[in-house]
């Protein structure tokens, strides 16, 4: 890639390494949920969207049906459609490049790319490709390490792995809670999920909370 600015390179690499390292947590979560090391590794390779991967294995771990796991994971990834919509005019990709760009269109690649906007259109493209492929590389390596590590540990509960996953979700949620209105919406969703747990099939209360987002987002 020609003339990548040092700044763009540094931004991309630091994000790729730190985010990629969390792949260890996903690898462990996948195995703890009952997926094989191969399946857990393929998850990161094929699905490649962190929160959704955690959601899918999390619903399975909680005893939910397969369909609930897939629906929860997919709903959680709908923001990626808006990211690809934002990136499309900057990247101007066609053919196989478009197919590759789609796979690495995630929170990190989009946000690093758009953060380079003041350095010109080249920097946006470089930020996207470097961050996306960097996270992809490290996320997959660390997933395999985490999966192998968890397999050798044995009982996930004895090592606290069953609490590490909800803790990771809380950590992902935390930065969004600065806004008071969002905090209320998050609280309502949590209570709603809790109340629905004994009433609905396992896994579906999570999906049902989308109704809270629809009601809250309907009006400004």
């Amino acid at each position: 890639m020609p003339h990548v600015s040092r700044r763009t390179f540094r931004d991309s690499l630091s994000v790729a390494l730190t985010v990629g390292a969390y792949g260890v947590a996903f690898g462990a979560a996948g195995v703890a949920a009952g997926f094989s090391v191969l399946q857990t590794s393929l998850f990161s390779l094929l699905a490649f969207t962190g929160a959704s991967q955690f959601a899918a294995v999390g619903v399975v771990a909680a005893g939910g049906a397969g369909l609930s796991a897939v629906v929860a994971a997919s709903l959680l990834s709908t923001r990626n459609a808006l990211y690809s919509l934002q990136m499309a005019p900057h990247l101007q990709v066609t053919g196989w490049r478009r197919l590759v760009a789609a796979q690495i269109t995630i929170d990190e690649s989009t946000n690093v790319a758009l953060a380079q906007a003041s350095h010109g259109p080249e920097a946006i493209r470089h930020g996207f490709w470097l961050t996306g492929s960097g996270v992809f590389l490290f996320w997959n390596i660390f997933t395999v390490l985490g999966a192998l590590g968890a397999k050798s540990l044995g009982n996930p509960a004895a090592w606290g792995l069953d609490a590490a996953v909800p803790a990771a979700f809380l950590g992902l949620l935390w930065p969004r809670l600065r806004d008071a209105r969002v905090r209320i919406i998050a609280g309502v969703a949590a209570v709603f999920a809790l109340v629905m747990t004994p009433l609905l099939p396992s896994g579906t209360p999570i999906i049902a909370t989308v109704i809270v987002a629809v009601i809250a987002g309907w009006r400004e």
């Binding site: 897939v70 929860a72 789609a102 969002v182 909370t209």
Partner: protein, 104 residues
């Protein structure tokens, strides 16, 4: 839990998540430009992540169970309040949960 189910979850999630990523590159920009759609979409991670925290910390199938997992999440909450970085949050949850699990 069986192999058919885990493979179905893996492949179903992968196909749908990829299709969703591809959407923005294929459709005209105005299709997803609706403000209401964007507002709802920005709230979806908030409600799903909250529900996932609750489900993972307290639900066991369709029952509410207060156990070592909730102790771990409480530790994560404390770590986040103290502005701890992400790895510290996850590790403190795991250590707390493991300790409560072993001493029970």
């Amino acid at each position: 839990m069986n192999t058919v189910m885990t493979w179905s979850v893996l492949l179903g999630t992968s196909v749908l998540c990829y299709a969703i990523k591809l959407v923005g590159y294929l459709v005209p920009a105005r299709w997803l430009a609706n403000e209401r759609l964007q507002r709802i979409n920005s709230l979806i991670p908030v409600v799903l992540l909250s529900a996932l925290v609750v489900a993972q910390a307290l639900a066991m199938k369709t029952h509410i169970v207060l156990d070592h997992r909730m102790a771990g999440v409480a530790a994560a909450f404390a770590a986040l309040m103290a502005r701890a970085p992400f790895p510290v949050v996850v590790i403190s949850a795991a250590v707390t949960s493991a300790l409560v699990y072993r001493w029970h």
